[in-house]
Subunit: 202 residues, 2 copies
DNA sequence: CAAATGACAAAATCTGTTTTTTGTCATTAC
DNA sequence: GTAATGACAAAAAACAGATTTTGTCATTTG
């Protein structure tokens, strides 16, 4: 493990130590000095790789969001019917968030914080998700799967209806609810969404 | 005004002074001592009327929630078709919250706090709203307006779909969005809800 | 010259102390 | 006997000084 760690480029190593530290102790008890100590380097050197503590923390968040985003891209690039894609995208996001919330609550907290404050990582992630959904909607409109043609109304509608299952703070507020229950409810909401998008009038 | 204030029963007077203090300075800068001073009495006497500061603060919240609740009861007791009632209830709640958020942000904050922590006031208020919605749904199911008959699925579905427009923290998160825009979007969500409840399968 | 150090200023956090606040109650006032 | 006081203990908040942390940079190292 020590070998694996030191074989990685310095920036990745710092990133992983930072993630581990936050995972264990939470952001509030994480300092650049402590991370540098764990990496056996002066804290000043950390700043050669990350311009600020905030940037480092955001990089930790980005780290786990990236694979989610590429998963979404795969769904989007697939051959399925528009609504199936839409449903799979939304479910995948919901599930990924919930997984992280359960597995690494402290790291999920970083994402919530970034979302609420509208920080770069969160904004970019949201834009990517939005872009995928938009692409699928436009696809579905072109193919006739979605008779309504006003993307400027359909897009917000999708996010408004799914808000509870997709919005980071709302997701955390539901931790106590059983996973199965949430998923059942989200399924029904998605069914409602399907019916709505399948009709001509929004 | 001074005359009006002193003509009211002591508990109401304290309540109003507390509300005014919080409205102006926020909860964090509000003390029982300061409220007592404004009421020209010893702080110990405040505790004759409210068992704790928390109880007093919750009473302030309850104060503005009560008229909303009675408004909902009126809608619910009215003669309109089930979905019209449902829509009017949900819109009324949304509008009332948004109004308070804009008019008295600090007081709305008390409500958010109480909601997030699941305090009595918030829980009771939520249960009342839920009871009204449930009544309207059952009404609509009985009258055939809502073909689906599983209230245990319909009720969460309504709140899930409307979450963004009804959930206190989500409402605050949208302060920056123009009122008209939010209302337009909520209208479309309600339209989707109508269609869903109007179909046999949930 | 790319990687890292260590010294530094400004800002934030911690720590121990004083003050205020919360909540109780025996006593007073009417 | 209901309304209010004022004194009190425990808890919380405010404060001030010491310490740590953040972020920069001139210098060192390989």
């Amino acid at each position: 493990m020590a070998r694996a760690a030191s074989s990685e480029p310095t920036d990745v190593r710092i990133l992983e130590l930072a993630a581990e530290h936050i995972r264990r102790h939470g952001l509030e008890r994480t300092t650049v000095v402590a991370i540098a100590r764990e990496a056996a380097m002066s804290h000043g050197n950390v700043y050669r790789y990350f311009p600020s503590k905030e940037a480092l923390v955001d990089a930790v968040t980005d780290q786990w969001l990236k694979p989610i985003e590429s998963g979404l891209r795969d769904i989007c690039d697939g051959p399925d019917p528009a609504f199936d894609k839409l449903e799979r995208i939304l479910s995948a996001v919901q599930r990924a968030y919930r997984n992280k919330l359960e597995a690494d609550p402290r790291i999920f907290d970083l994402f919530i914080e970034a979302s609420v404050l509208g920080r770069g990582v969160a904004r970019k992630h949201r834009l990517k998700l939005q872009a995928e959904v938009r692409a699928v909607l436009e696809d579905g409109m072109a193919s006739g799967a979605f008779p309504a043609h006003d993307i400027r109304r359909a897009l917000p509608l999708v996010f408004d209806i799914c808000h509870r299952f997709i919005n980071p703070p709302s997701i955390r507020a539901d931790v106590e609810l059983a996973r199965a229950q949430i998923e059942g409810r989200f399924e029904r909401v998605l069914r409602a969404l399907r019916r709505t998008l399948g009709s001509a009038v929004l």
